[in-house]
């Protein structure tokens, strides 16, 4: 189920990041460049949810809400109280981590899809709060005038500079994720997602590891929210609703649950989809629904699994993604 994590994965990531360095110079316009930035932000969302779904066997239907909490905490602190986004970031991470602890602690003790149910309820509550705490969030019209990040007196508000900033932040997060998966903790996670009772017999504290994964995953979503808010300068509640959370789950599965490179494909589809749906007619929604069914039927391991198949068939299936655990 999981793609192997090893030196080749780090190399693959490094090569990809080197290639991405040239994006601002080859992107034909700022629209494309901003889509690339959005892809990196979405990559954080999909990769972090993939960590949870792939390595704890749990589904969170509140990833959109955690993304939103990150965006709103840092955004409100900046827009309403003039607090630097550099302080807003740790505040957002702390709030999200605490919320994830409260939602996850009782439900992750139970076997079955109780986390999915609790997070679904939690996302609904968060959506109501984003709209109703008007004095802070600006209500249904959204929060405006969110200040940009400032580094040594230099505003990170041009599209090109912000792309590099996101590239650095996303790269750091992904390396952190890789380190987590390539460590003692990562091996414990892999063990518990393959055979939970077996893992517990080996002395792995299942509840603690599931909590860890859930909190890390929620906090990375919050970081993505901070980046989104301070780049867009505006956030509104519908970006973080139940539909967002559902679509993120779909994107993880579409990319391939537990597949490291799958998240890159999932994020790509997630970023491109609204643009395609907006520019062409209504037929695209039907096409998307049917394609989702087809991918699940023919590539149960997602687009990442399809990539492995192509590599194994036509290449040598290397780059650390061709073999399974």
């Amino acid at each position: 189920m999981h793609s192997a994590i090893g030196p080749a994965t780090y190399r693959g990531l490094a090569v990809l990041w080197l290639v991405l360095l040239v994006v601002p110079w080859v992107a034909p316009n700022n629209y494309i460049l901003n889509l690339a930035t959005l892809w990196l932000i979405n990559l954080l969302l999909v990769a972090s949810l993939n960590l949870l779904m792939g390595y704890s066997g749990q589904i969170s239907l509140a990833h959109g809400a955690f993304y939103g909490i990150g965006a709103y905490v840092s955004g409100v602190l900046g827009a309403k109280y003039g607090i630097s986004p550099w302080l807003g970031l740790p505040a957002a991470l702390a709030v999200t981590g605490a919320v994830a602890l409260i939602v996850g602690w009782p439900t992750l003790k139970l076997r079955g899809h109780y986390l999915a149910m609790a997070t679904l309820g939690f996302n609904a509550i968060a959506s109501v709060l984003f709209v109703e705490l008007r004095d802070w969030t600006g209500g249904p019209n959204g929060l405006v005038n969110i200040p940009p990040y400032v580094l040594f007196g230099w505003k990170l508000d041009s599209d090109r500079v912000f792309f590099y900033f996101t590239l650095v932040m996303a790269g750091a997060c992904l390396v952190l994720l890789l380190n987590l998966l390539d460590s003692r903790t990562g091996r414990a996670l892999r063990a518990l997602s393959t055979a939970e009772i077996g893992a517990e017999c080996m002395g792995i504290d299942v509840h603690r590891h599931k909590m860890l994964v859930f909190m890390v995953s929620a906090m990375i979503a919050a970081l993505a929210g901070c980046l989104y808010a301070h780049h867009n300068a505006f956030v509104s509640p519908e970006s973080f609703d139940f539909m967002t959370s559902t679509m993120l789950v779909v994107m993880v599965a579409l990319g391939g649950t537990g597949h490291w490179w799958g998240a890159f494909f999932g994020a790509l589809v997630y970023t491109a989809l609204p643009e395609v749906l907006r520019s062409v007619g209504d037929l695209e929604m039907l096409v998307f629904g049917v394609s989702l069914v087809l991918v699940m039927l023919f590539f149960p391991r997602g687009l990442g699994g399809a990539m492995d198949w192509v590599l194994a068939r036509f290449g040598r299936g290397r780059a650390g993604s061709g073999r399974n655990d």
């Binding site: 589904i59 939602v103 009782p106 439900t107 003790k109 139970l110 076997r111 079955g112 899809h113 109780y114 999915a116 149910m117 609790a118 679904l120 309820g121 939690f122 609904a124 509550i125 959506s127 109501v128 709060l129 709209v131 109703e132 939970e196 517990e200 299942v206 509840h207 139940f242 539909m243 559902t246 789950v249 779909v250 599965a253 649950t257 209504d282 037929l283 929604m285 039907l286 998307f288 629904g289 049917v290 394609s291 989702l292 069914v293 699940m296 039927l297 149960p300």
Partner: protein, 295 residues
């Protein structure tokens, strides 16, 4: 606000009518969950499709409701059948997760299909027996609300009889209890899954048709109804058929009373706070058996 018995009664009427719809949607979720352990994201879309289909038939042909309603239910049941046969049945590894994801796919496709064929405009149906309110204890009651409650009870009874009295119903119960053991005694498990989807689609369509005279319907109405129905199913205990009734009515009443006494903006939040507390303290749902294993 003056709190008197008439107001409380009025809120209770509203809550029970809405709650009955939630209960029917929850029933659909439970039938599929019992048989596959998957969450059927298309349930809400079938509710919408039932309402849209009936409204469209009413608009196109001036047939009596007695003909339109069964025809619309049958159409949606066929839609459920086709969805299951074309996407769930061919799955090579039908894990609950894979089935759930596939249902998201055909939920999106169903919504798009209804939008493309029946249009984007909201549609309506006439009330089944007039709109003149009945006054009861100082509160007014729409006749359609009586139809809703009556048809909910009839559907519940029908589904109950199906599971208790028919061979296919008993086979479905057996397959839900233990798939492999059921297969060993000659039950075609794949066929029980198919029937679960057909029943869920039909029950959803009934819910969509009986609510349309009160609220109108449009291609986008399914998501919210599905969401509420799923919450009701969780309140009552997923997979528990009588639980759907309890969860649905409880959710409807909670919404009605919290909208009146707390704030209409927070009514959704109140229902979900109750849901979270229930999950934390009684995770098997109100009627669920205490079968939850602690890790």
């Amino acid at each position: 606000m003056q709190v008197d018995s008439a107001l409380l009664l009025q809120l209770a009427f509203g809550g029970i009518a809405t709650g009955s719809i939630y209960a029917l949607v929850a029933l659909g979720f439970n039938v599929v969950f019992k048989s596959t352990d998957a969450i059927n994201f298309a349930q809400g879309e079938w509710v919408m499709a039932g309402g849209m289909m009936a409204a469209w038939l009413h608009q196109q042909f001036a047939w009596p409701l007695l003909a339109i309603v069964p025809l619309a239910v049958a159409c949606v049941a066929v839609l459920g059948l086709a969805s299951e046969r074309l996407s769930v049945y061919p799955l090579s590894q039908p894990s609950p997760m894979a089935i759930t994801l596939v249902t998201i796919g055909f939920a999106i496709a169903t919504k798009a299909l209804v939008m493309l064929t029946l249009g984007k405009l909201p549609m309506s149906l006439p009330s089944f027996s007039g709109t003149e309110s009945i006054v009861l204890g100082g509160a007014s009651l729409q006749p359609q609300a009586l139809w809703i409650v009556g048809l909910l009870l009839a559907t519940m009874a029908g589904v109950h009889l199906f599971f208790e009295r028919t061979v296919m119903g008993k086979a479905m119960k057996a397959a839900a209890a233990d798939r492999e053991a059921a297969a060993l005694v000659g039950i075609n498990v794949a066929r029980t899954v198919m029937w679960a989807f057909v029943i869920a689609a039909a029950v959803g369509a009934i819910a969509g048709i009986i609510i349309t005279p009160i609220t109108l319907t449009s291609f986008s109405a399914g998501t919210v109804l599905g969401f509420k129905g799923f919450s009701a199913a969780m309140l009552g205990g997923l997979g528990n058929l009588p639980g759907a009734l309890v969860g649905g009515l409880l959710l409807g009443l909670l919404e009605a009373f919290s909208a009146a006494f707390i704030s209409s903006a927070y009514k959704d939040a109140v229902a979900f706070v109750v849901l979270l507390l229930l999950l934390f303290f009684r995770p098997a749902g109100l009627l669920g058996r205490a079968q939850v294993q602690k890790v």
